[in-house]
Symmetry: C2
Subunit: 253 residues, 2 copies
């Protein structure tokens, strides 16, 4: 073990992983969310693993720098807090956390200078009781009890996602205006005027005693919708063109 | 389209998916989090898809019941609110939401009787602008900008996970007591008494003026740790055995 993480991110430890494809997919899942500290304990098919490298495409750097360890104790020797991921309850007295709560706790521990590891078990059997007994807490993803079969790479992805989500400063909603701006009230009013004038000419507001209400309903459509200036221009053009087409029809008729 | 979702969950629409494997993995990801309403628009390799079925193992029912549609409009015809998942900004005026915020919004819409669809694009190119223009909002996963390549099944998994997480009633932390209970203060005190007595005999508390502080520090270890009754019994047994071993050594010596 020559590898030590320089910054505050947890080490993801793949314990006795079997398929190279899953190691590669796990690397991708980590890097998708900006994590790049991986350790691999006794991978079944040796190390480096060609299929892991092939699957990691773009995240291969994680595998190049991954610490290769003989056993779990040496993989977590420099860590001060260890999470174990497991689907099953094992009869060990241990706190069981949701990924969300676990990653929030990991962030708090790291903010206080602690070094965090997250253990992920082999594909088929998961972590052994001996591995879990070394952990401070267990992470259990709240899956469908009828179908709890999360694979290794999916479990890595969800933990990485949660860590990123909790740190993320992306606003929950951004409006991509695509170069235009919302129409102001004068523009909305002018659009309403335009359509109302055309419809007045066309005899739309009938009978006369219903006209005020019909006009109000029509205005309210435009007021309620978040129209952009580009939308308003498009609709003006559309109304004009319908009138032009009607006039051409009349002239032709 | 004969399929209509009976309960309040969104329809996940796979738009022109390419690899059967990814369709199968998407089905698994949905079912992992209890979602089973899938529609498939113009899958490249026809329908049903053998490789999708093989990969879906355990979630094959979703594929059996998936609605097969010719195009996006027919896939979302009965929906009242449509999200499109995309990594890129497309120059379309549209709200861009995090998965978390989008799924919270989806839940609110469904709680008011609305029917929600989430569009997922084909593996390579993603959704086309024509597809996105039909959506009310875009979901963008806040990935590592250096490595934004989430695949189809991963994107489905994260959206399904977020929906489940927001609805989930799992407490953030549960302590699996594994059949024991926390030790009470009397038990902790008795454990401290036991060790202190043994150490007194062994001449541990030296020099005498430091003894009170040493005893306090030792007590505080047990008070600080969340020991169970089983832990306390184990430690009593361990202390006793060390003494027994020392006595045997002495008798043999």
């Amino acid at each position: 073990m020559t590898y030590s993480p320089p910054s505050a991110q947890p080490v993801f430890v793949l314990v006795r992983p079997q398929m190279g494809e899953n190691i590669g997919a796990a690397a991708r899942g980590m890097w998708n969310f900006g994590l790049d500290r991986m350790r691999v304990v006794a991978p079944r098919d040796g190390w480096p693993n060609e299929r892991a490298v092939a699957l990691a495409s773009g995240a291969g750097r994680l595998l190049d720098h991954a610490g290769l360890c003989d056993d779990v104790p040496s993989a977590i020797a420099d860590c001060t807090y260890v999470f174990a991921t497991t689907a099953r309850s094992r009869g060990i007295t241990v706190p069981i956390l949701t990924p969300e709560h676990a990653m929030a706790q990991a962030r708090a521990i790291m903010a206080n200078g602690g070094r965090v590891a997250v253990l992920f078990g082999p594909e088929r059997a998961g972590l052994e009781n001996d591995d879990i007994a070394r952990a401070n807490a267990v992470i259990s993803v709240p899956v469908n009890p009828d179908f709890p079969s999360l694979n290794l790479a999916q479990c890595v992805l969800l933990c990485a996602y949660e860590l990123r989500r909790l740190a993320d400063t992306t606003p929950p909603e951004v409006l991509d205006m695509a170069g235009t701006d919302f129409a102001n009230l004068a523009e909305i009013t002018a659009l309403g005027d335009h359509l109302e004038a055309r419809l007045d000419e066309a005899g739309f507001f009938f009978p006369e005693d219903k006209a005020p209400r019909m006009k109000r309903n029509l205005r309210q459509i435009w007021s309620r919708l978040p129209l952009t200036q580009a939308d308003v221009r498009t609709l003006h053009g559309a109304f004009r063109q319908i009138v032009r087409w009607a006039e051409q029809k009349r002239d032709q008729g």
